[in-house]
Amino acid sequence: MNQEASINFSEDEKDILQEIMNIAFGNATADLAEVVDIYVMLSIPNIQVIGIGELPFYLKDTIKDDGESSIVEQKFWGNFKGSGLLVFPSGSGKDLLAFLDDRADYHHEGTAAATLEKGGLLEIGNILIGACVGKVSELLSTFVTYSPPQVLQGKSSDYNYLIEHFDPLQTAIVMKTIFTFKEKDINGFLLILTNHESIDWLRKALHEFMGTYE
């Protein structure tokens, strides 16, 4: 945690945020089982507050890309604002498609396999990111709007493009969770990045949340 961030965010606030994330991701796991026919397990999220400038390095360390992992990115906005990043390890993209085993339902033949695969990634990304961000928002009594997800095909060694809409001097909260598709033996991780603008609001929302328990 860098200096500036610790000034903005107290240990107590971090604890509250951690518990909200535990609840949110737990709720998301439970509800995902209802939405998709497969048991998706989300680990307890790890929360880190880091400077935006460090983010590309953090991502490089975390993603450990060997050039083949698939990344789905989706922006969300509202009081709670940021990006969701879903990272599948190399090679799992194709196996993942089996999870959406109704691809034949895409009622148009001649859709290229690559397009289908990308579509599958986008759909899973949209649902997982929506589930996690949605549950956090719900607990914090707000709601967010989403932009369409996209499969990132930027240079894997360079994550700078991810932070283009962030001010480099600001801080970001990174929430990282590992998800596992139980029966399919596929796992990857999900990052939710929120920027500085949201931190002020988030602090207020955390206190309001705890306020209902005092």
């Binding site: 509800d31 998709v36 959406l100 397009t115 986008l122 589930a131 949605g134 719900e138």
Partner: protein
Amino acid sequence: MIFSQMFDMLDVGIVILDSELNVFKWNRWMATHSKLPPEKIVGKSLFEFYPDLNTPWFLRNCKSVFTFGNFAFFSQKLHKYCFPFKAYNTLGSDFEFMQQSCTVGPLRDENNRITYIYITVQDVTEVAAYENKLITMNTRDGLTGIFNRRYLEAKLKEEFDRHIRYNRPLSLIMLDIDHFKKINDTHGHQAGDFILKSLATTIDERIRAVDIVARYGGEEFCVLLPETTSESALALAEFLRMGIEAEIYHFKDKSIKITISQGVSDLSDGVDSAEALLKKADDGLYESKRLGRNKVSMISNKKKVQ
């Protein structure tokens, strides 16, 4: 009052569904394009009118919006359309149905509970047609109409990776018109162009739909053969060689005969990249030229076959 007018004035389809996926609202745009007035569909299940939407992916996405309050996006690229509406022929497109980009989102009541979801439908036929044109321009060779070198190289990489992963046979033929310069010099460039076009057609007619024929350079062509052993590729090359040797091309009042030299390659002998596959075919082609042209060769462990 003004806000409710928006609902019908927008050039976007808007549908509101309840939690049972019954139609709650159906705006004028939807009524116009579907030819279903609101009074016919409101209160009824959406699937009664659009049974094709009753699929796991549609249900899953609607459920997700109800549960998490997220959005679902049905892109034109993947889904083409959600509602089968007739397309207006813009830009000379040959789409039978209107291409659509659809978004599903949540609507909350005063207690913040998601009680309805909306679907917006945007007509993107024109964009899709334009995109198709661009794709054609980008992947096809302007003169012959077959694929260009850029497309071949991309496909070659893709197919190479796929075949290696699943351990499947993959072959490539590289071919070149013998003494093409002489045709140009004797009959003129127009005749040369005509030969290139005709040869492209001749090859295209003799290969499977999954095979990819591309113009690789001036008078050089490549045929990429997925799921094909070198034996089959050599047989096809021989079939092409004989067919073209026997063909007489008529340009204006001239009769032109051509022959081709070919090189065949497959994934054996340490071919560990798409480039190596190309190189091996090119080596075969060179060998055919060296042996006097109108030949098929495959360099295998530095030994030639045939």
